[in-house]
């Protein structure tokens, strides 16, 4: 289970990428933007940080458009029966 600090940091990140201006800033300088938002890098799961910083601005925008994606990122098991197949 994620700690409260992790949930807070993810919520802050979610807010950062949801707003177009801070999304741009995050894309250009993720660490400084995170710090300026008052979050600690140590509270962000490394896989989340790695994925976000590997994304282009377009991809960040696509994630932001999904809704409540980041807040719970990786915290749900995703392991349900209702899956699509090809």
């Amino acid at each position: 289970m994620a700690s409260e600090n992790t949930l807070i940091a993810l919520a802050q990140l979610d807010g950062l990428i949801r707003d177009p201006q801070s999304r741009q800033q995050f894309h250009e300088d993720p660490y400084a933007t995170l710090q300026n938002a008052g979050a600690e890098l140590g509270d962000v799961p490394s896989a989340v940080w790695q994925a976000l910083t590997a994304m282009t601005l377009e991809e960040l925008g696509a994630i932001a458009n999904l809704g409540v994606a980041l807040v719970e990122a990786g915290l749900l098991d995703g392991d349900l029966a209702w899956q699509f197949v090809v």
């Binding site: 896989a47 349900l80 029966a81």
Partner: protein, 235 residues
């Protein structure tokens, strides 16, 4: 929290991006999973699923043909042709399986085939046609990584079957994929890590994958909304 060993590989990075996008899809799945009438929910889900599955092989063949056409001047496209050909063959007939599963519980295929597929299905599949035909066929791998990379869970399917009271035949196709897709995901990851992908290609894969998650979420949400509306009118 999941970790991704060897996370600098293309497949690992793509999986991380997909994991970030998954929670809304999981929430939409959970809503169906907890529906008070599991049998009705499952059959509604299979009906929508059929709309997507019937398009799988034609989409794969379109991507294969496009890759083949680009191949002489495009090493990335050349690296896709064999995989897409084999994958189309591996998936062939699964739409028929699904129709048979539905028929086994009294859903007439004529009714299913005559019903216009929803805009959500068209958007999900149509986005892939656009990327394949107007950008690059490698995009389809982002779509496939979402679908093959999250195979149905056998234990949960069996639990759902027990709760729904439906016969095993209504779960055949999904149970088959619970096993098949594990191998398919590994094969796809291996391909992604061997292909000469540029940063722009990796971006295209990410966009395709995130779009697929968004499309599947919309589809499942529509199923949930429809079930809720039906239930509202019958209670």
């Amino acid at each position: 929290m999941a970790t991704w060993p060897g996370s600098s590989s293309s497949s690992s990075v793509l999986r991380c991006k997909i994991a970030l996008a998954l929670p809304p899809l999981v929430a939409a799945q959970r809503r169906l999973d907890q529906h008070p009438e599991p049998a009705a929910a499952w059959l509604a889900f299979l009906g929508v699923l059929y709309g997507a599955v019937r398009a799988s092989v034609p989409l794969l063949e379109t991507a294969r043909d496009r890759a083949r056409n680009l191949s002489p001047a495009d090493p990335l496209a050349a690296g896709l042709v064999d995989y897409l050909r084999r994958h189309a063959e591996a998936e062939r007939g699964h739409d028929e399986w699904l129709l048979q599963d539905l028929q086994s519980v009294g859903v007439a295929s004529t009714e299913l085939l005559s019903r216009p597929p929803s805009g959500a299905v068209a958007a999900l599949i149509g986005a892939q046609y656009y990327w394949v035909l107007h950008y690059h066929p490698v995009c389809i791998l982002g779509h496939l990584m979402v679908i093959e990379g999250n195979p149905p869970n056998r234990r949960r399917l069996q639990d759902l079957r027990s709760r729904s009271g439906l016969p095993a035949s209504a779960f055949r196709t999904m149970l088959e994929h619970a096993d098949l897709d594990i191998d398919h995901a590994a094969e796809l990851a291996d391909l992604l890590d061997r292909l000469p992908l540029s940063p722009i290609h990796n971006e295209a894969l990410g966009l395709s994958a995130i779009s697929t998650v968004a499309g599947l979420t919309r589809l499942l949400k529509e199923v949930g909304d429809r079930l809720a509306a039906t239930r509202g009118t019958t209670t």
